[in-house]
């Protein structure tokens, strides 16, 4: 299967946005490789010589030829779509729900400064330590500083794409700390040293046999007895048993955040497994890393935002656990109060390129994203090339929209071209981001950021021809005649449309154009 090629190539050393999360040294038997810094830390210059577009096309070609894998992914997406349709049918009005959800997130964005300050004030009153991080290295340094100040050694993590962006696990490992991912899908892909295939369903591309292999070969016998079989239940229980001890022994729990609630100074976290509940409930210190765009103005907004997230993402009216954290364990001066909970809670508000998106008045609404993954689920490009082909932390339509502005249009703008602009993403987005039109906007930016002289000349020639009807008519006649004359070259490298001809046949040549028919009286 092609995936071996991509999985092998998809290491944290590859590309400026390459990422990897890794296990604590006790469970991961191979040494880690040093992280590659994202280009922002190197004066905007790429640190690799990889050509993203060429690589993308090669990977896409391989993936598009893997029929069984494509069918597997397509079937999974169709099932999600069916479940989602049933759940949406329960709503009073799913289309109105999208309007209100979009308006709520937009209100937060339009007032983002005031909202973040309101959150900071309320959270601080609740006993939360609020920190701000401009970029990836800053987040990593701040987390490490918190660990050191508390003499902490070990971390258990729940799923957080923000921490994936900044290679946090790497930084922690290299600083000598132990890091374990508790979410089952994240745990599996870490063992395989692979990037998430889909930011909501990170291991959806894997069959049970491959998962069992990872458990057999990457988890030491000291850690656990071998897994009983490749039955999904057995595989899940294997991970569950390993994690239970980790929750109890970890010094620090690090989570992401789905919503930053401004009026309450709180963080809301959505999950199915319960691993975030445990990560944020058992260890003595809880650290949240969350993108600044996750603002929700009011606590009551969760009634709609959490249902939209669950419904759009996986067809669940509500995901298994929707938890709001208002602060560390609450006790009075006499030590009376809550029976357990962390002694400290930290929230690190992360920028890492989000302000670049914010600064673009035409793309700003992309920050409404609640990371549901619905756009991936409906995208025909995604289901035909798979999540690893994109080469970015976020895949699919939203990935193609936010990666160029956040990580460099010249480096990632090609993703905006890898789309037929069908609009299924925009149609499905629960917060009405203008996704496919943004791809067009990014294409416009790309022609400026990374000018293609040959293409530009061709476009100028095209425009000139199309402004002059006689040129157009002549050109059409010539092209049709020429194509006949050039028959011997068909299928060879000199054939201009060989790419089409390789896979498809062409329509037959008509005897006259429509315009000729019209001009000659318009009769058959």
């Amino acid at each position: 299967m092609y995936r071996g090629h991509l999985a092998r190539g998809w290491r944290r050393s590859r590309g400026p946005d390459a990422h990897g999360t890794t296990m604590s040294r006790s469970t991961y038997e191979q040494p880690s490789t040093p992280p590659t810094d994202p280009p922002e830390t190197h004066n905007g210059r790429l640190t690799t010589t990889r050509i993203p577009l060429k690589q993308f096309k090669e990977d896409a070609e391989l993936a598009a030829a893997d029929d069984p894998q494509r069918l597997f992914v397509r079937t999974a997406m169709r099932n999600v779509a069916n479940t989602r349709a049933k759940t949406e049918a329960m709503f009073g009005s799913i289309q109105s729900a999208r309007d209100v959800a979009a308006a709520i997130k937009w209100e937060g964005l339009q007032n983002i400064e005031a909202m973040l300050l309101q959150f900071e004030e309320n959270a601080t009153k609740n006993g939360i330590n609020v920190h701000w991080a401009a970029d990836g290295p800053s987040v990593c340094n701040q987390v490490i500083e918190i660990m050191r100040q508390n003499n902490a050694r070990s971390v258990i993590k729940s799923k957080s794409m923000a921490t994936e962006e900044v290679h946090l696990n790497h930084a922690l490992l290299d600083a000598g700390f132990e890091v374990v991912e508790s979410d089952l899908g994240e745990y599996i892909i870490q063992l395989r040293d692979e990037a998430p295939y889909h930011f909501v369903f990170p291991s959806m591309h894997l069959k049970r046999g491959e998962i069992k292999d990872a458990f057999d070969h990457k988890v030491s016998r000291e850690e656990s007895a071998p897994v009983a079989s490749d039955d999904p239940e057995a595989l899940t229980m294997f991970a569950r048993n390993i994690m239970r001890q980790k929750y109890l022994s970890a010094d620090v729990g690090i989570s992401g955040g789905n919503f930053i609630i401004a009026d309450s100074g709180a963080i809301a976290i959505t999950e199915n497994e319960g691993n975030a509940r445990l990560t944020c409930g058992v260890p003595k210190i809880h650290i949240v890393v969350v993108g600044i765009e996750k603002i929700a103005p009011k606590l009551e907004d969760l009634a709609l935002l959490q249902t939209m997230l669950g419904t759009a993402g996986a067809g669940q009216l509500l995901t298994g656990y929707n938890t709001v954290y208002f602060g560390p364990r609450r006790r009075n001066e006499n030590g009376e109060g809550e029976v357990d909970g962390p002694e400290q809670m930290h929230v690190i508000l992360l920028d890492n390129g989000r302000t670049k998106l914010l600064a673009d008045p035409a793309l700003r609404d992309a920050l409404r994203c609640i990371r549901c993954g619905a756009c991936l689920n409906v995208c025909p490009i995604f289901s035909n090339v798979g999540g690893h082909t994109y080469g970015t932390t976020y895949q699919g339509p939203i990935g193609a929209v936010i990666s160029p502005p956040m990580r460099g249009t010249a480096q990632y703008g090609h993703l905006a071209y890898a789309s037929s602009l069908c609009g299924a993403c925009t149609e499905t987005c629960p917060v009405k981001i203008d996704l496919h039109h943004h791809l067009l906007r990014i294409r416009q930016q790309y022609t400026v950021a990374k000018p293609q002289a040959a293409e530009k000349s061709a476009m100028n020639w095209f425009a000139r021809t199309m402004r002059h009807p006689l040129l157009y008519r002549a050109g059409a006649r010539v092209a049709l005649t020429f194509d006949g004359l050039l028959r011997p070259l068909h299928g060879t490298r000199l054939d201009a449309i060989s790419a089409w001809r390789k896979r498809r046949s062409l329509p037959g040549k008509p005897t006259q154009s429509f315009t000729s028919w019209w001009q000659s009286g318009g009769k058959q």
Binding site: G92, S93, S96, R98, V100, A101, A103, W106, Q110, E113, L116, G127, N129, V130, H131, W132, A133, S138, Q142, I146, L184, G185, F201, M204, R208, P232, L235, T236, L248, E273, G274, N275, R277, G281, I292, E300, A303, L317, L318, G320, Y321, N322, T323, V324, F326, R330, G337, E338, V339, D340, G341, E343, L349, T355, A359, R364, D365, V431, I433, D434
Partner: protein
């Protein structure tokens, strides 16, 4: 506790970037989805559930079946007690954790040889050994089939997620019709001072392996609600 001033990091830089970013007004061609939300609409766009016992019970029953929550409706406290005893006996459970509450205590302490009360100084290793955790709830949301628990009044954070079987004891007056009603109740309640509220919708689950549903990924494999009818 680390004081905020010490590791506040890049606060000024980030706020400065935000300010300069927002100096440019939004392009009118971008879809806004509305400029200011009418929050009174939230209850209308969500699945409708009337605030009657029949409607709430119907919704809760349907959702529980969908979520694989074991919902048991009982006529009175006596029936609740015997139901709990049956649940415990069925599992041949030897260790049970609970928190003190008028609903919970009598049910837990009838099987007291093996009970661990989390209110008496918390030992997470001991809690991890328990097969069943019994708690009450802050509320039950009929619309979504969710059990709302809080750190303040339903036994802390770990009790309602660590033991493999979570039994929730609730009364009819705790059932709210929908999510907006839940948040309204929460805002007006002493529980608003909790450090955590969690909406539990079914047992713990994952679809991470071939999108096949497996229960009990990390949290409870079984969620049972024993709900007393209106008296």
């Amino acid at each position: 506790m680390i004081s905020p001033g010490k590791i506040s990091g890049d606060r000024d830089m980030v706020l400065g970037r935000i300010r300069s970013a927002m100096a440019t007004p939004t392009d009118p061609h971008v879809i806004h989805g509305g400029m200011s939300p009418d929050r009174s609409h939230i209850v209308d766009v969500l699945p409708p559930v009337a605030d009657t016992w029949e409607a709430k019970l119907a919704a809760l029953t349907e959702r529980s079946a969908n979520l694989k929550t074991n919902l048991i409706v009982v006529p009175d406290r006596g029936a609740m007690a015997s139901t709990v005893r049956d649940l415990i006996d069925a599992e041949v459970a030897t260790k049970i954790a609970y928190h003190r509450h008028p609903l919970v205590t009598p049910n837990a302490e009838t099987v007291c040889e093996s009970c661990y009360c989390v209110d008496d100084g918390f030992d997470k290793a001991k809690l991890e050994q328990c097969q069943i955790g019994i708690s009450t709830c802050f509320a039950i949301v009929a619309q979504t089939g969710s059990v709302a628990v809080t750190a303040q009044s339903t036994g802390g954070r770990a009790l309602t997620v660590l033991p493999p079987h979570h039994i929730v004891l609730a009364t009819a007056d705790q059932v709210v019709p929908h999510l907006p009603a839940l948040w309204a109740k929460f805002a007006a309640s002493p529980d608003r001072a909790s450090s955590m509220i969690s909406l539990i919708s079914g047992p713990s689950r994952t679809g991470d392996i071939e999108r096949i549903l497996v229960l009990g990924a990390h949290g409870p494999k079984k969620l049972t609600i024993v709900l007393e009818q209106p008296q």
